[in-house]
């Protein structure tokens, strides 16, 4: 008897639970809606502004409901791949770096929005065009740049007599040597993270005149005197100024080391200062930010563009297009930017002197850096091959192996072989 009643209980429990689980799918609403897929923002108020202000306002104005679908950091490529492969899911997506080029055939031409918005809001930065235009068509509307710049400890730099951030890589190296001797080393990521490695490696390579591939997208030119000079510099920069474990760092490591007061300089987005102001006010007081140093061939920064694209197979593509156009209008966009202070740096000149830049003047270098920002792999055109080069950390590893002890000639030959293999199909 008791065995039977247990089984009966189990049956009822399973049936009940299944009913609960199945219920939501049966009760779906059929109202008109647009789904915007976004990666969780570092700044919570940025997501909340869309959820609580923009989405309700758009629904009130047009009757179209906006579903703001958040996905975790790092999972956006998987989500976009799933949507494009299955042909269903969100209608508008956040998109970044080389993805507009990788998924171009699945994305709607939104040139009309770009032209209208550009005309009304002071024109686009060149970097926006580099990030959004694919074969003459805007496949994404650039929203903003998440710049990667120098973060430095003013109090420790002052200890070695430096009150202004060094202007060149060589000057920074000299300061770094003194700071390491005082147990305040630098910490620049050389591991396989997603941004803080490329954030300084590509600008360093470019500032010495090195490049991976020519603008023709075919000719591999990594093996050059300029690259060799950049690699040689990186080796001594690592050896004489940094912590040894940067070779295994990912993006979270330098933030952690900063708040542990382990390092005196790193390359990062605004997140270090932002979090310091919230949780570590004493560290915030002595944290400053600066543009990357310049090398013999100039000063460069990494373009870390985020934008929005409409899937061209979406059944609601016109509604999605109209929503994107509405969001990018000054009335909406200004408030959205302001909700995140300046963590997202606008690509439109109308915001160059917006009041948000005065909230934290230490963030201004992020605005000024956009004029010299380029996508990873520049000046090669963004292609599948370039995406593979970035995904395989070819250039990061070239520098990291040199820092770990390999010869300059060896690491460059190795990188060249990998690049030629990848570009064989170009």
């Amino acid at each position: 008897m008791s065995g039977r009643s247990r089984r009966d209980f189990l049956k009822i429990a399973v049936a009940g639970a299944a009913g609960t689980a199945l219920a939501p799918s049966l009760g779906r609403a059929a109202d008109k809606s647009v789904t915007l897929l976004h990666e969780s923002s570092f700044i919570k108020t940025f997501d909340e502004y869309m959820q609580k202000t923009l989405a309700p306002a758009y629904e009130k104005e047009t009757g179209v409901k906006v579903v703001y679908e958040l996905t975790s950091v790092g999972s956006l490529p998987t989500r976009i791949s799933t949507i494009t492969e299955t042909g269903s899911g969100a209608d508008v997506t956040m998109i970044f770096l080389l993805y507009p080029f990788l998924f171009a055939d699945k994305l709607m031409d939104v040139s009309d929005i770009a032209e209208d918005i550009g005309k009304k809001q002071g024109g686009w930065y060149d970097a926006a065009k580099e990030a959004g235009i694919v074969n003459g068509q805007w496949k994404s509307i650039p929203h903003s740049n998440i710049g990667q710049l120098m973060n430095w400890r003013t109090d420790w730099f002052k200890e070695v007599g430096v009150t202004k951030f060094p202007d060149t890589w060589e000057e920074l190296y000299e300061v770094g040597k003194k700071l390491k001797a005082k147990d305040h080393p630098f910490g620049f990521e050389l591991g396989h993270g997603f941004g803080d490695n490329h954030g300084w490696i590509y600008p360093l390579l470019w500032s010495y005149g090195g490049r991976e591939v020519e603008p023709d997208g075919k000719t591999v030119v990594i093996d050059s005197d300029e690259t060799a000079r950049a690699v040689d510099f990186a080796r001594k920069f690592f050896k004489d100024t940094m912590l040894d474990d940067v070779l295994g760092w990912t993006d979270v490591s330098n933030n952690k080391a900063w708040f542990a007061e382990q390092i005196s300089c790193t390359n990062n987005a605004e997140s270090i200062l932002w979090l310091a102001k919230r949780d570590f006010p004493d560290i915030a007081k002595v944290t400053d930010q600066a543009m990357n140093p310049q090398g013999p061939k100039g000063r460069f920064h990494l373009l870390n563009c985020i934008g929005h694209s409409v899937f061209n197979f979406s059944p609601q593509k016109q509604e999605a297009h109209d929503f994107l156009h509405w969001v990018m209008e000054e009335k909406q966009l200004g408030g959205w930017y302001a909700s995140a202070d300046t963590y997202y740096q606008p690509f439109l000149h109308a915001y160059d002197n917006a009041p948000m830049w005065d909230v934290e003047p230490r963030n201004k270098p992020y605005r000024d850096a956009m004029g010299s920002a380029h996508l990873p792999g520049w000046p090669a055109p963004p292609t599948r091959q370039l995406a593979e080069v970035v995904a395989k950390y070819v250039t990061v590893d070239m520098f990291a192996k040199a820092c770990a002890g390999a010869s300059t000639k060896e690491v460059i030959k190795n990188a060249e072989a990998q690049l030629k293999e990848i570009y064989r199909t170009a």
Partner: protein, 281 residues
């Protein structure tokens, strides 16, 4: 003296290794626990002993429970894990029984295939499964994962149960058949009750796999209200290059409680079951 020597010997031969393995097993939980109650200033302070907490705080737990939908994610996780485990055990039994007990051509090949299917990696399956889920209009419902988890759990349960079923003596079934029971009655009234420990171990493993599953939950569940714990905590507690360590550890610790409870609740029954049910001579 003799007693002292025996105690020392016992301590070296038994308690020392037990203590060592206990330390290994419990250290991650200890680390999660202390990280979850440390204020951020202490968490990042290199000058403080990392294995101790100097100024404990419940701030991270309060944040986890009030600023995120953690309790809802826990409910979703349990619901999904219980139902998909139940489905997988039923289907796994139906698959394992004939393969273990009945003789027919190709049984060995099918058993091998079951094991091979379990080894197919999820990244190969998520795109076609996403297509199926979208066609059924089940995206963003718990049903999506309740239906997809058995694709990995059924082969796993079947594979585990085949092994267990083979250890039950055939004589018991033959005796029941001689007494007039049909094959189904034999299976239901004699065979399956003897396999309770097998079901418990398969169930526990299936439950744990469902509870920890990440990829399908990430792809099929994007609304915060339908997320499971593994996806929810990562989506909301890792922002950019900043990890909310305190809340992440609080979530990991709380999320591991259901499995720990289930293990401790069934362990006695499980061990007792392993040693019973055999026939003499």
């Amino acid at each position: 003296m003799v007693t002292g020597h025996t105690r020392l010997e016992q301590a070296v031969r038994v308690w020392l290794p037990v203590g060592f393995f206990l330390l290994l097993a419990l250290f991650p939980f200890y680390w999660m626990a202390i990280t979850s109650v440390k204020p951020n200033a202490e968490l990042y302070n290199r000058n403080m002993m990392p294995l101790l907490v100097h100024n404990p705080t419940l701030k991270h737990y309060v944040g986890l429970l009030t600023e995120t939908s953690f309790l809802l994610w826990t409910w979703n996780t349990l619901l999904v894990a219980v139902i998909s485990t139940a489905i997988s055990l039923v289907l796994g039994t139906m698959l394992a029984y004939p393969l273990a007990r009945m003789r027919f051509a190709g049984a060995g090949l099918i058993a091998m295939t079951v094991a091979a299917i379990y080894l197919v990696p999820q990244p190969l399956l998520f795109l076609p499964l996403a297509d199926v889920i979208n066609r059924l209009d089940l995206g963003n419902t718990l049903t999506a994962v309740i239906l997809t988890y058995p694709t990995m759990l059924v082969p796993f349960c079947a594979w585990l149960l085949i092994g267990y079923f083979k250890t039950v003596p055939k004589e018991l079934e033959e005796a029941a058949r001689i007494d007039g029971a049909s094959r189904f009655q034999t299976m239901r009234r004699v065979f399956l009750p003897l396999c309770t420990p097998g079901f418990i171990s398969a169930g526990i493993f299936a439950f744990t796999l469902s509870q920890n599953e990440f990829l399908y939950a990430l792809i099929f569940l994007t609304k915060s209200s339908v997320r499971t714990v593994p996806v929810g905590v990562i989506a909301e507690l890792i922002r950019g290059d900043v990890f909310y360590w305190g809340q992440l550890m609080a979530g990991a610790l709380l999320g591991s409680i259901p499995v720990a409870l289930i293990y401790s609740f069934f362990v006695e029954h499980y061990v007792a079951g392993l040693t019973s049910g055999s026939v003499k001579g």
